[in-house]
Symmetry: C2
Subunit: 234 residues, 2 copies
DNA sequence: CGTCAGCTTGAAAATGCTCAATGGAAGTGG
DNA sequence: CCACTTCCATTGAGCATTTTCAAGCTGACG
């Protein structure tokens, strides 16, 4: 059986306006995400690398907008294994949860500044403020899309493909699309890609030997052959 | 730096009311999901096993509620590799997208019946119908939570842990929590867990040899030692 | 200049995959 | 009712990729 209905205008397009690619903030989009009509719960907060912003299971009273720096959101298993869900940069919302508790942990990757918002301030706003509702809905759908792409990568890509995809993501966010500046360690990359730190390192070295990338510094990747990278992305 | 704010009531609790565990529809919840005030776009549709309900990239004019049967949503890579995102049972919404296009493919696993809803009928409703907005928001957040759990499994679990988690998920949805009735093939399970069909089969056989489960029929798993299964779930 | 954290590299081991053959249940047609 | 076919699942053997374990290396910082 196949389903055919007459075409019609796309009603959720407004809601979808913010939906973007894998990384939450598309390269070149420099409009800061600013929940319309919602007032910060306090002054901008600063975090140092590896400092926890909120923890899985804690009461989710506050959500945040990243102003500067990079934040990682991750899940920990009992035995300490870690899966990083995403890296968040300027403009991204983190800690916006359905339940009463944060479902994951957020930590600063680099020095970070974040604007806090009170979750309970939303109630009044959501009822009256259409734009705000749409923004938050868009945020949820964008996160969902990102999570699904991530799942394909984790489940069905080889180490080389994972690393290539990661480099492309990073380069896509830099102003110069041919250089990826990494805020995160190899361990962070490994936990994002579902690999070990050694495999990440070896794969990067191999890509450099193959003249696909250059590694001028520890936290910098220069794309010499983006086409080859993209071909790995199948 | 640590963030402390005074406790407050939980504003999004209503929105979160539907948020559940890994599988979209929690075991024992028999209230059908019925988008309040939204009229179906037509009669109930029937699909046979492996029939496509909608395809990745098609215009997302319609979304569906599963009435009976099991649906899989999946992503395909260029070379045919497949990653199943989730299995959907009665009550679940599928095809509710942010963008203009379906971001994944939905196919019937078993014989299925689905109620179609017109996406553009939402516009008018969303503005006025608070309950509907909340339901759809809850749907998005629940899907997001599920996708994140899935990512941890794909990235950081061994084959045995993946299979154990899958059995627990399935058993959790059955009326008798000690029997998992599978609608899907081994290939479906493999593509859901990011494994091969052989590894799934071998792992199931091993669990049976270890007296953790019994395999009375091809599509049935009896839990003999649920504790052992759960311990694999770490 | 020494120390230390993070990164790279190597060798061995393990986990999961590929290829290939077998098994078994359901459906079909004689 | 029984062979035959077909589809799906299981099992085995060998192989590939990734992990593990164990050294070294490098650059930042005191």
């Amino acid at each position: 059986m196949s389903v055919q209905f007459a075409p019609a205008p796309h009603p959720l397009s407004a809601i979808a306006a913010h939906a973007a690619g894998s990384f939450a903030k598309p390269a070149g989009d420099h409009t800061p995400f600013r929940p319309s009509g919602l007032l910060p719960a306090g002054p901008v907060l600063e975090f140092s690398p590896d400092e926890q912003i909120f923890g899985q299971g804690e009461e989710a009273l506050i959500f945040f907008r990243v102003v500067t720096g990079t934040v990682r959101t991750c899940k920990f298993m009992n035995d300490g294994r870690r899966q990083i869900q995403a890296f968040h940069v300027a403009g991204e919302l983190i800690g916006f949860e359905a339940g009463d508790e944060y479902s994951l942990t957020a930590e600063a990757v680099s020095d970070c500044t974040l604007v806090p918002y009170r979750r309970n301030a939303l109630d009044a706003q959501l009822a009256t403020n259409e734009a705000l509702s749409q923004q938050l809905f868009a945020h949820a759908m964008r996160s969902l899309k990102q999570a699904r792409e991530h799942a394909v990568m984790l489940g069905r890509r080889t180490a080389a493909e994972k690393v290539a995809a990661f480099i492309i993501e990073c380069a896509g966010r830099s102003s110069d699309g041919r250089v990826a500046n990494l805020a995160m360690t190899r361990q962070d990359i490994a936990d994002y890609l579902g690999l070990t730190i050694e495999t990440v390192s070896r794969t990067l070295s191999q890509l450099e030997r193959d003249a696909v990338i250059e590694l001028p510094a520890l936290r910098q990747i220069r794309l010499k052959n983006p086409a080859a990278l993209r071909s790995l992305n199948s």
